[in-house]
Symmetry: C2
Subunit: 369 residues, 2 copies
């Protein structure tokens, strides 16, 4: 029956390509097909594997001063949530704590990073993480594996770090090359060293009432920290999370719910996302679509956390491009009560949270408080 299901899915995919049938119609067909079958577990379990492709914004959607139909009139009313300086504060505090740990028990936290392949962006992220470790006194180990390395090689490296008592956090930089089984590899990260919080047990325990995950993913944790440290009340507020990735959208929605927000998750299949967003007290957006969220998507006074980071061409910039978030900042800053900039908002918090998780892992193992 599983085989039938998979065949049906492939058939649907093929049909979609051939005939332009919308996934919507395909799903209806699938649901009708299933409803006539004997019911077994996988049958009603729709897969999330349809890609979340958001409608691409038209060129006029970009709200840059040059090409913009945007409303740039009025003054900025929103307070800027300065992720860079908040992250710096946290890093200083971590540095003090690491040094206290070294003094008291003669040990420091250790982080191991595994990078497979030569992706420029991944290399930059990894370099930033390692530099940040160094700055606060956390030991770091780094394995750079070739693009075409085998799964066994990655696993061997991972197990070595899993078993190394001087290493308290192990992370595998994503995305992995396509020939490697990301699920299998991430599931092998020792739960007590899963400082990225991507292990399904950590996600499951984050979702469940009365459970405590050992780690919460760094970006979602950074978003919540920004809210808390900016004095934003979360409990009872309506929070809208745009995007449902395993790395950001999903854990952020779970974390907001843990803080007793009423949470709505929007994704590429949501109808009229602007109407839902207009109801939100807090908007966290992680769709990866530049300027998806316009000023008129927001309720006056909303708090906006923009996780998106997309490079777009900008000949006037030093490097020929600049980073933009999911939010049309200039518009949003005239409607929101507080907003994170891109860059300088969520980005710096992610690494600070990674350091915090690593410190926490080390203190847990060393029973050091």
């Amino acid at each position: 029956m599983m085989v039938t299901t998979m065949l049906l899915r492939s058939k649907m995919a093929a049909e979609k390509v051939a005939t332009g049938v919308t996934p919507n119609k395909g799903l209806k067909l699938m649901e009708r097909y299933f409803s006539t079958q004997v019911l077994k577990s996988p049958l009603s379990l729709m897969s999330l594997d349809m890609p979340d492709i958001w409608a691409p914004p038209s060129p006029t959607d970009y709200c840059s001063p040059s090409s913009s139909p945007c409303n740039f009139s009025g003054q900025q009313t929103a307070a800027v949530i300065d992720g860079k300086s908040i992250a710096e504060e946290i890093r200083s505090a971590i540095a003090i704590e690491v040094s206290r740990m070294r003094r008291c028990i003669g040990k420091v936290p250790g982080l191991a990073v595994i990078l497979v392949g030569q992706r420029r962006d991944s290399q930059t992220y990894v370099r930033n993480k390692i530099n940040a470790c160094e700055e606060v006194g956390i030991k770091s180990l780094f394995s750079a594996l070739p693009e075409d390395c085998t799964e066994d090689t990655v696993v061997r490296e991972l197990l070595r770090y899993n078993n190394d008592p001087s290493i308290h956090g192990v992370l595998v930089q994503l995305p992995l090359p396509k020939h490697l089984d990301e699920e299998k590899i991430l599931n092998m990260v020792k739960l007590e060293k899963d400082v990225d919080g991507f292990h399904p047990v950590n996600i499951g325990n984050l979702a469940m009432r009365g459970r405590e995950p050992l780690f919460v993913s760094c970006t979602p944790k950074g978003c919540i920290e920004l809210l808390i440290r900016s004095g934003v009340e979360i409990m009872g507020k309506h929070a809208v999370v745009i995007g449902r990735s395993n790395i950001v959208g999903l854990p952020t929605s779970l974390l907001l719910q843990r803080h007793h927000a009423t949470v709505t998750i929007l994704h590429a299949f949501s109808k009229s996302p602007e109407l839902t967003t207009q109801e939100a007290d807090i908007v966290v957006t992680a769709a990866g679509v530049p300027n998806l969220v316009r000023g008129d998507w927001l309720k006056p006074g909303a708090v906006v956390i923009d996780v998106g980071t997309c490079p777009i061409e900008d000949p006037s910039s030093e490097f020929g491009y600049r980073l933009v978030g999911d939010v049309c900042y200039e518009e949003a800053a005239r409607v929101a009560s507080a907003i994170t900039p891109v860059p300088g908002g969520v980005g710096p918090m992610t690494i600070a949270m990674l350091l915090a998780n690593t410190l926490d892992a080390a203190q847990r193992v060393g029973d050091f408080n």
Copy 2:
């Protein structure tokens, strides 16, 4: 720091009792306290352990014909989603499949149920499950343990079933007596036999994109089946889930999202839940509060799945009580396009899904399709 956190929580709880401080204010204090500390993992991780106590409905809130301020005028417009007959269909199909399995490989699926204590409702549920197994030809084993048994006794029993190759599904009837560690016990159910789908790995994999849980909890799966088999389109629709329990609300919201609905989760801390519910195309309610959802909470044409099952006194009934759901049925049936009755809606589906999960587990192990 963990200790401090926990002390703070206890202190807050104590203060709340002593001074009547609302959790809202307590949380604000907590957030302010945390924001001044070095950041470590558990700090910003609010616990979900505040009980979801919904405002109790006043006596006039009950919409029974005798005591009601309800609007009983107008005709029922909603189609009744007949869970009883849909569940019967599924059970017949399962019986045929079990018999085919016995014929082909000489084996049948096996389910083990562990019940601790003497709760009447639990005894009834367990009896129903065992009877349902018998009806479709699934082997069942049953352990009734005394209320005061030790954790070791439960674990020993559980491990025995985990290791018994004739048993494909193991379930521990909840709730457990307070002296037993529910989390520890549920985590020991072998993943491949977790037919209740309560293991955090199964919940985590249900939540994550690109992952497949081995099992989905029975009641949520039953709700989705009712929608699919009633021809309700889920993708792109706005679904509101009322209640966020590990057993129903949480996995239902994850499952609806897997089917590409836009999902909002309401809980006892949500403000104006009626306004959010009014926007919903699909309402799944599992708050356990009789008649919480009134007719005017619903958008005309909404589909309503009522998971609530509360006994309320009714001298006119044979047993002195009757079961009511979370929804004021008489009102809702005049607004909704389709609705599940209580009893006879979701209830029968839960057991049907348990049988389906058990069959599925057995076929997976036996590599029988």
